[in-house]
Amino acid sequence: MKTMTYREAIARSMRGALEKNPRSIIYGLGVTDFTGIFGTTLGLEKEFGSGRVFDTPLSEDAMTGFAVGAALNGLYPIHIHIRADFMLLAMNQLVNSIAKYKYMYGGLFELPLLVRAVIGRSWGQGAQHSQSLQALLSHVPGLTVVMPASAQSVLDTYEYAATKARFPVISLEHRLLYDYSFNLDAGARPADPFTSRLVREGRHVTVAATSVMVADAVNAAKFVSEKAGIEAEVIDLHCLTRPDSKLLLDSVRKTGRLIVADAGWAPFGVCAEISRLVATSDPGLLKAPVQEIAQAHSPCPTAKTLENHFYPDMGTVADAICRLASGRKDHGVELPSADYKRRLYKEFKGPF
């Protein structure tokens, strides 16, 4: 089976967007420098010209509003933030303009555009270089928020966005995933990529996950299957603003047990939202309370010892699966050792 890294999938998608949509432009801080947004935009300026691929001044607010005027006039803007945190300076445009443009004018305008923002993690990125703001963005009607969790998801979603979609998309890419290799064509590939995906079938517990937590959930599911014969079903929520609720509810109907594993904070977040979805649709499906796996509800600390407590990992998911499947905290399944996890994770070494 063919494999590809997440980084390579993004790089191909960026080139693909420029090739397949002659009206697409790619810009953002650092887009044309020698690091090329972690290697995802390298060489594009040279090949497609500085009119279509360009670096910008440090003006996140203006360059986000810029996308509005560009999209209104037929361009397909792809605006990249090397850190999702920097996008916060553009919240006015994202929330007040982009999310409203179609609705507020009664459908007279459409704003096809893509904002890529990278979530940092590890190696002391700290409070302002690491945030997973999917909940904040998904809350606002009018924004379509995705968190691609695999190379195939990146390829499918970005191609659809750049060539077919007529709406604004915000994609949160996880820095840890960049170096991961994925099997292409693995799992379900929905025709419209803006929905959720079934990643692994199982009958005991459902894990609905986002972004890097999908990889953690798959690793955890394999681990508990081998160690304890527990079979977890893993759903990659992928498009947070358009989750496949049928897929999710059917899975919970089968397993009766749900874990939501999100790469963000739990309160008011994806854990809360997916719990809401089940609670308001069919709460009787649940044989046990929903388990939430999320970051500690604090800013991200820098010290490694604290960071380890801040971030959940595949061990956290494995533990939750065993607890939920057995109905006991002391489920007796030996959890993955630090060594096991170290072998599994390609640890990110900074700086940048």
Binding site: G65, A67, N73, L75, G107, L108, P141
Partner: protein, 307 residues
């Protein structure tokens, strides 16, 4: 008196009469939307837009009736929009603050001060990249120049020599706050710091002067000279939002307003007013009638066009 002057005059008068009609209807509460009237500022808007090409685009603010009508927007659709009717330009989802008329190049009006300036820059970039010969006009108030994004936009437009004309409508007020208490900078010097040419019309009521100035600046921008900043001084006759005057509130000087009004062509030029008034009154009455009779949007509409 030239035909061009008469046309501008007629447009300015049309806007004033339409807004006076809004003020007349307002107490009935049929228009349930905040209205920011342009009364006192319509002459420069009419003159400015008369001097642009039909393909030029405009991005402006909540004080949008004048720009909408001058750019060619249908008055009936505007009144229906103010009434919250399904036949409004945006099906009753925009109200007074977000008028638009894409077919005439009015591409949006924001209730967030300065939010449309960057939209104009993006549009200018698209025009440049696609080889389109039109220009983009950003029309905002003096208060918008205090927002950081104005500076970001001047910088990028200058850097890329974009065909964007930043028009600053300076009425000396941001709600109730005077310019002197808000700005430590001079717009002219700020503009110069970005290497952008700056132009000033000290009297927005002087329509021929504004028209001539606009034509000159627009020609340069269209010709590839890069962006320009054009300040037009004006007087807001009414309260910031709403349909009354508020000189009794003590924050502004009535004498200053009287001095502007004494020069106001829409007050002084009786012969032209008489010439156009009957026809304009009929258009306005028809627009109001259209709005009155139009249906309200059906409730399914609330979830349409969200994504």
């Amino acid at each position: 008196m030239t035909a061009a002057y008469e046309a501008m005059f007629r447009q300015a008068l049309r806007i004033r009469l339409a807004e006076e009609k809004i003020a007349e209807i307002y107490p009935s509460d049929k228009i349930q939307s905040p209205v920011h009237l342009s009364i006192g500022q319509e002459p420069h808007t009419a003159a400015l837009i008369a001097s642009l090409a039909p393909g030029d685009q405009l991005y402006t603010t909540y004080r949008s009736h004048a720009a909408y009508l001058a750019k060619g927007g249908d008055m009936r659709l505007m009144f229906a929009e103010l009434y919250g009717k399904a036949s409004g330009i945006s099906k009753g989802k925009a109200g007074s603050m977000h008028l638009c008329s894409p077919e005439h190049g009015l591409m949006g009006c924001s209730a967030i001060v300065a939010a449309t300036i960057s939209h104009a820059v993006g549009a200018g970039y698209a025009f440049q990249l696609l080889g389109r010969k039109d220009i983009v006009v950003s029309l905002t108030g003096d208060g918008s120049t205090e927002e950081g994004v104005f500076h970001e936009c001047l910088n990028f437009a200058a850097l890329r020599k974009l065909p964007v004309l930043f028009v600053i409508e300076n009425n000396g007020l941001a709600i109730h706050a005077h310019l002197a208490g808000r700005q430590a900078f001079s717009l002219e010097k700020l503009t110069a710091a970005y290497g952008i040419p700056y132009f000033l019309s000290p009297d927005g009521l002087d329509m021929p002067a504004v028209a001539a100035q606009t034509a000159k600046i627009a020609a340069a921008v269209r010709g590839g000279a890069g962006p320009a900043v054009y300040e037009i001084r004006a007087c807001r006759y009414m309260q910031h939002v709403g349909v009354a005057q508020d000189f009794d509130k003590g924050y502004r000087d009535r004498a200053e307003f009287e001095a502007w009004r004494a020069r106001d062509p829409l007050v002084r030029e009786k012969a032209l007013i008489e010439k156009f008034r009957p026809e304009l009154d009929r258009e306005i009455a028809a627009a109001v009638d259209f709005a009155e009779k139009a249906p309200f949007p059906a409730c399914e509409e609330v979830l349409k066009d969200v994504f």
